[in-house]
Amino acid sequence: MTAMQRRSPLGFRAAQHTADGSTSITEKQFEGKLILRGNPSAIGANVAGVMATPMPAKVHETATGPRGTTQWLSPDEWLILTAPGGETDLSRDLTAALTGKHHQIANVTDYYTTIALSGAHARDMLMKIATVDFDPLTFKSGMGVTTNLGRANPWLRATASDSFDIIIRISMADYLWCLLAESGHEWGLAGLTPKGAGVTLHLPHFETGTPAAPAIDPTPTPDL
């Protein structure tokens, strides 16, 4: 029997470190992620009861408790992060606490992945690719933000004074990983090329004028 193997979106990328070893990008694999939507005045107390933290009420606010971290995304939308594998239980508990209230809980654990950026040059690397001010006086530890990093649109959270968790859709994860690596290149991170870069749609029979017979490659697709 084949063992079921769960593969993370950036599992093929090794962690990257700057030359001085101070700063690194790593993937936090399989971190549990839920999206909660609802009217904060109606569901706030119930969610706070489950999370054991007050609900973040406005932009930049996050709250970390024993069950995980809640991050403000918009006036009626929150991201809830929890330990890997904990999303099912947390989702069940939240659903039970919100019975009868108009709300939505979506398990997006496998739709997003988390890139952890940590170290002395973390803010420098973000400042190079963001329009939001990442000065430590402005963007303090514990604050969260949704913004653009290059062409990617992640959710960010400062987990410590120079550590950030960047939550990004899996389709853009490798782009953002390589963008961060490129951003840290001047401090010694290896420059990387995103998977699929330079590959364009290629239809041979459009160019030759004769339809090509569909070629079937019997070898299985190699793991990345």
Binding site: S74, P75, N148
Partner: protein, 116 residues
């Protein structure tokens, strides 16, 4: 760098926003009795003033909420931002001294002065 203030998220770069055209245009309730000309008026016809007007924006890369803004089209200054559903604030722009109304900032026209 043009900065826009989102009423939910605060001041962010323009690149995070998308534009939504003129604000405060309600869909007609009696569309089944309207003539084509009246329908075209609702669908296509917009004001294009030089000066203060209300428009819609969406903070696409942030909270993804629509909001309204009052902007002076002759200077590109945002005079007010307010949430959807709130009434339009009564703000007026300082007029421009030159007849052609060049913007003061970024115009390169040192003769243009804002009248107070």
């Amino acid at each position: 760098m043009l900065l826009i203030t989102c009423p939910h998220c605060g001041t962010r770069d323009q690149s995070e926003f998308t534009y939504g055209g003129e604000a405060h245009i309600s869909r007609p309730a009696n569309s089944e009795t309207m003539t084509d000309a009246q329908w075209a008026e609702f669908v296509f016809m917009r004001n294009n003033p030089k000066g203060v007007w209300a428009e819609r924006w969406m903070h696409a890369s942030g909270c993804r909420k629509w909001f309204n803004a009052v902007r002076d089209t002759s200077t590109d200054r945002f005079l007010a931002v307010y949430k959807i559903g709130e009434p339009r604030p009564n703000v007026t722009a300082a007029g421009l001294a030159t007849p052609s109304g060049e913007p003061v900032i970024g115009s390169g026209n040192d003769a243009a002065k804002v009248m107070r």
